[in-house]
Symmetry: C2
Subunit: 380 residues, 2 copies
């Protein structure tokens, strides 16, 4: 059975072109980029070319990019990096951040930092007025994600950045889900620290980046040989880094248009089913590949497994907390009661999906929803 993968927000397959360049690096540019000899210098050049390419994509003229092992490390580095540097203070984030932001904040709270979790509206947008009110003299950082991983909300980071700049507070944004899928211009948006990663854009797992505005000082998360401007020690993952930049390079506008079309087709089809509702915003303020819907009276995990047994991979929410039995903190933050949150599913599209995938998924969904509602009616 050919499987249909609709969980591209969890991770994507790697593009063949990316695999090809990584294999070239494995074979030909295997040196340690910190070595002085030719093998080392060639690795160093490959890294610096990759770094420039990614910075150009972001129009980052006054920023440096440090390569990390992924989004979680970048987010941990941003928050702990600022916190340990400043030693005390207040951090503002939102209630719908990824676990790696929230759990880091909880940990920093235990160390004595004060944390504010901003509420969001029913579509997941952060309350900008509340943000402005909450920024105080002791605020050291605001961290708000760019594109939400569960419900696809694209926050107005330009407006958030302007507020932060105005108040003289650093602004970090987690762009793991939005990078390449939504324009990011670091000169226009006043973002001081930006998290990006590769495995959501057809690049390899195990590599990400943290973009840092010049002058912003952070304490490294990993101490050691002083790699990456002294901010992230550890032998550079040259094939991963070059693969990352290749993935950025080959990301196409056409693919975004295609994903949007499939997204809207899937949303339309789902809303034609009885007792369904779209979670998150409509239209242009939603990530091009995200669909999240409530199927009332249907256990989300049961529906996921029904789709899975029919060859379709979807998710109940963030992959990272999918083993948890708690209802999604994102869905409850936008106002769903825990029961409805448990009756929701996330579908995330990719460049390799086709219309027939969406049509087949809608058929199986209709079947599954009806069957599971019968069972729950019997049970009820």
């Amino acid at each position: 059975m050919k499987r249909i993968y609709l969980d591209y927000a969890a991770t994507t397959p790697v593009d063949e072109e990316v695999i090809r360049v990584m294999n070239e690096i494995h074979r030909d540019i295997f040196g340690n980029a910190s070595s002085i000899h030719l093998d080392g210098r060639r690795a160093r050049e490959a890294i610096e070319r990759a770094r420039d390419k990614i910075l150009r994509k972001l129009n980052a003229r006054n920023h440096k990019l440090i390569f990390t092992s992924g989004g979680t490390e970048s987010n941990n580095t941003a928050l702990k990096g600022i916190a340990f540097r400043r030693k005390r203070g207040h951090i503002i984030t939102s209630k719908i951040e990824h676990d790696c932001i929230l759990k880091t904040c909880e940990w920093l709270e235990k160390l004595g930092f004060r944390i504010t979790y901003l509420p969001v509206d029913s579509e997941g947008f952060v309350d900008l007025k509340k943000l402005e009110e909450e920024i105080g003299n002791d605020t050291i950082l605001v961290s708000i994600n760019h594109g939400n991983n569960e419900i696809g909300t694209i926050e107005d980071v330009k407006a958030i950045g302007e507020i932060c700049e105005d108040k003289g507070v650093y602004f970090h944004s987690d762009a793991c889900q939005s990078f390449c899928k939504t324009p990011i211009d670091l000169e226009e948006m006043k973002i001081d620290l930006l998290t990006i990663n590769a495995h959501k854009i057809y690049g390899p797992k195990g590599v990400g980046g943290l973009v840092i505005r010049d002058g912003v000082e952070i304490e490294p998360l990993m101490h050691g040989g002083g790699h990456e401007f002294g901010l992230r020690s550890g032998t550079e993952n040259v094939p991963g880094i070059v693969g990352f930049s290749k993935a950025v390079e080959i990301f196409k506008e056409d693919d975004i248009r295609k994903m949007k079309k499939l997204r809207d087709m899937l949303i339309k089809g789902i809303l034609e089913l009885e007792d369904t509702k779209l979670n998150g915003p409509k239209g242009n303020k939603r990530l091009c590949n995200n669909v999240n819907a409530l199927f009332r009276y249907v256990d989300g995990e049961a529906l996921l497994l029904y789709l899975d047994s029919n060859g379709i991979s979807v998710s109940t929410g963030s992959a990272c907390s999918s083993s948890s039995s708690e209802p999604s903190h994102v869905l409850t933050a936008i106002g769903l009661d825990p029961k409805d949150a448990r009756c929701s599913l996330r579908f995330t599209l990719g460049k390799w999906n086709e219309e027939e995938d969406v049509r087949f998924t809608l058929d199986v969904l209709e079947e599954g929803v009806n069957k599971l509602r019968e069972v729950s009616a019997l049970k009820g």
Copy 2:
């Protein structure tokens, strides 16, 4: 010109068999291991098979293995993980550790932890009596590397482990250079935390591991989705992890014998040159692939560049601090004066070296040493 790579301690090329399995994973098992659907479960199974394989290699029956992004992360996790868990206390390490141990200790010192840097003898062996004396009631951790990355000293970790067990103190060892090249039996050696990585054993860059004895509690370095037993968040690098376990699986005893033979041939040849001296121990207590020698009156970096221009890659010390102009802290710790430390070079062999590589290197070395001594005599 065919190049001769003699810097395998900095990093190794990746074995074709490892590249092959990583490509398979990239193509067929691309899911997020935390996803519930089939694509996720297949990734999970691949990771767990890899984990078992590596634990078996170490005879680790009462340990768990968490995958990290490499040796630096593993070492940072071990030290900071114990330190943050215990909140205060005393850590003992040695003067010849890798920078990622020393810089982490310096950072912890700033946070209020007390650190003791044990001296070593002229061959790099830690003074066990001194270790025993230094362990106090407030000591929370002893961290001593297994095989030294610069001079190849294989510390007596069994004896160190016994002292630590006797005193009720956790023992961490950095085995990045020794893993697979030297037997490690975690049941026999009383090691509580062990750092290993892939890119020194023909595996990929960007993946490593920290082995942790059951019952040893650490604070995670990265907070988030709760991956890796809640101890290391971040989407698992499935291809890297499987590649790592493949590298462990195919490491051959024969290659060790071959490296030892070439090592001894290279040492013999170097010592036949005038005014040379071996740095580090002789014989079986030296890593199978390490040669470090002093070439008196010859600037190490100049000799490195001479070899490089003749197609031979060697190192002045740790790649990670090779851009530093300081003399090696390892060489000064074993008693070399800074001038002699600067006149030393490290040669590290790998399974793809042959006798003719050693012969050619010895020829170029003799030539280079003579030429550079002429120049320095003229200067002098």
